[in-house]
């Protein structure tokens, strides 16, 4: 399972390294979102700094939709999905591999977005490690749920419109938890506030990664 996961993740990342779609389209989209949020909130920097945690995670959520759609799209042509199924790769490995590739791209994206938030919105962070941990945990959950819904909607003609509708409400707890952790990290001094939410993220990750490992095979049959 782990070997298969590494193979699949390596394949997706190699495609990304050669096509640079995430880097040249998804990351700029995140940047555009940050600028648009700034326009929406007006030039008041204190207001922007206050809203920075939520805006960061909303931008991440929207970018996740794009990253997942890209992850599905690279296998939509030439019956590549059926090829993967027939290749004898463990479905659990396939799930973990595709999820890991999405997660890795998202982590890079989040680093860029975080830098953007700090620079553009003037947000000050007191406890940086809290933000780093929350980003990693949140990303695992987003990648897991995104990959599951991506697989579920892979064969559908309406997948571009259906995926955000299904995925975004499911990811609402990640948005809530991530925002609260950012706020705690920005306020400083109240790590207890953050740890409750870190625990929630851990539970979310564990539930959906486990679910994906178990049901990814049957999902492929249904897609």
């Amino acid at each position: 399972m782990w070997r298969d996961a590494a193979l699949v993740a390596g394949k997706d990342l190699r495609i990304e390294a050669r096509s640079r779609v995430a880097l040249s389209q998804v990351a700029p989209f995140g940047a555009v979102a940050l600028v648009l949020f700034a326009f929406a909130l007006g030039p008041d920097r204190t207001l922007m700094a206050k809203g920075a945690p939520g805006l960061f995670w909303v931008a991440v959520l929207f970018s996740t939709v794009l990253a997942v759609q890209r992850s599905v799209a690279v296998e939509s042509a030439d019956g590549a999905r059926d090829g993967l199924r027939l290749s004898g790769i463990d479905p659990a490995g396939l799930f973990l591999g595709k999820g890991a590739a999405v997660a890795l791209q998202l982590v890079v994206l989040e680093a860029l977005l975080a830098a953007g938030v700090l620079l553009l919105y003037g947000a000050r962070v007191e406890v940086p490690w809290l933000i780093a941990v929350s980003c990693v945990l949140g990303t695992v959950g987003l990648a897991a749920t995104g990959t599951l819904y991506g697989a579920l909607s892979a064969g559908l003609r309406v997948r571009e419109t259906l995926l955000p509708f299904l995925f975004l409400p499911i990811a609402a707890p990640v948005l809530l938890a991530g925002t609260r952790i950012w706020q705690a990290a920005m306020a400083g001094g109240t790590p207890s506030d953050g740890t409750v939410w870190l625990r929630l993220l851990v539970v979310f990750d564990a539930v959906y990664v486990a679910l994906g490992v178990v049901v990814y095979g049957p999902i492929q049959e249904a897609a």
């Binding site: 749920t145 409400p169 809530l176 049957p218």
Partner: protein
């Protein structure tokens, strides 16, 4: 004139419409129909009695006045929507996914439960808003319960969206069962996250303070009857929706072939332009 463009005429037997379906539609037995009607009648009667008790017999509340009468409706609707309907949908979807109990019965039951549950969910939000406007002064509060109810509604609207995508019944059943499963797993997480979201930074919200005044006498009985009546209404709607779902599945298989055959028959007009013979094999 356009004869060369036309494909080679098929032999006359293939041109005609397919023979009428020989298999019978899955109509419920006489006893099942009787049970459905009985549930419906009892539900109607219980609702009528609840309305009568709630509007005329019970006294207005000391604090809330006539507004308290919504308490006979709102909690019952919420109970059906949030626990009964979506709980049933989750269990039925799980039973469908479990290979030993896989049957389209569970799929139809889950679909019916979600559809009725979404209606009840909207009723919960609307009746809550109507109560909230005079009580809190606003239509909507970002309270924990309100928020998770709204998230639940969106999650199951996604389920219905997935169901609307045309597919073979088995494929559709599997897909929607997965959507229901993922949503059901998410519900406790959403619940706690929203709860902490509201309570970590401020104390108890307005909703917890006032909704459970001491209830006794006729008010308690009316409240109880309201729960019962709405549960019965839910069961009746579920039964009707299930029956319709079974008929839809039965019809769904033949519609496409029928339409194709009809178009083919239109294309195969006789050379002299007269209309084709009327019966063509179907009634």
């Amino acid at each position: 004139m356009s004869a060369p463009l036309r494909p080679a005429p098929a032999p006359p037997v293939a041109v005609g419409l397919p023979p009428p379906r020989r298999d019978r539609p899955p109509l419920p037995s006489r006893r099942a129909r009787a049970a459905e009607r009985t549930v419906g009648a009892v539900a109607l009667a219980a609702t009528a009695v609840t309305v009568w008790l709630g509007l005329w017999v019970t006294p207005p509340d000391q604090v809330q006045g006539n507004l308290v009468r919504l308490v006979y409706l709102h909690p019952g609707v919420a109970w059906v929507a949030l626990y009964l309907a979506f709980g049933l949908a989750a269990v039925a979807s799980l039973l469908y996914l479990w290979p030993r109990t896989r049957s389209l019965v569970w799929d139809r039951l889950a679909a019916a439960a979600v559809e009725v549950g979404v209606v009840f969910n909207v009723c919960t939000l609307v009746s809550g808003s109507i109560w909230g406007r005079p009580t809190w002064g606003v239509w909507w509060v970002w309270d924990a319960r309100l928020t998770s109810t709204a998230v639940l509604l969106v999650l199951f609207l996604g389920y219905l969206a997935m169901r609307r995508i045309p597919a073979e019944p088995e494929v559709r059943a599997k897909r929607s069962a997965f959507v229901a499963l993922f949503a059901a797993v998410d519900i406790p997480i959403v619940h706690f996250s929203v709860l902490w979201w509201r309570t970590l930074h401020q104390g108890a919200t307005v909703l917890n303070a006032n909704l459970s005044p001491k209830i006794h006498g006729s008010m308690a009985w009316t409240l109880l009857l309201g729960f019962l009546a709405l549960t019965l209404v839910f069961v009746w709607m579920l039964l009707v929706r299930y029956r319709i779902g079974a008929l839809e599945d039965w019809l769904g298989g033949g519609e496409l072939e029928l339409a194709l055959a009809e178009r083919r028959a239109e294309g195969a007009l006789p050379e002299d332009g007269s209309t084709p013979a009327e019966p063509l094999g179907v009634g």
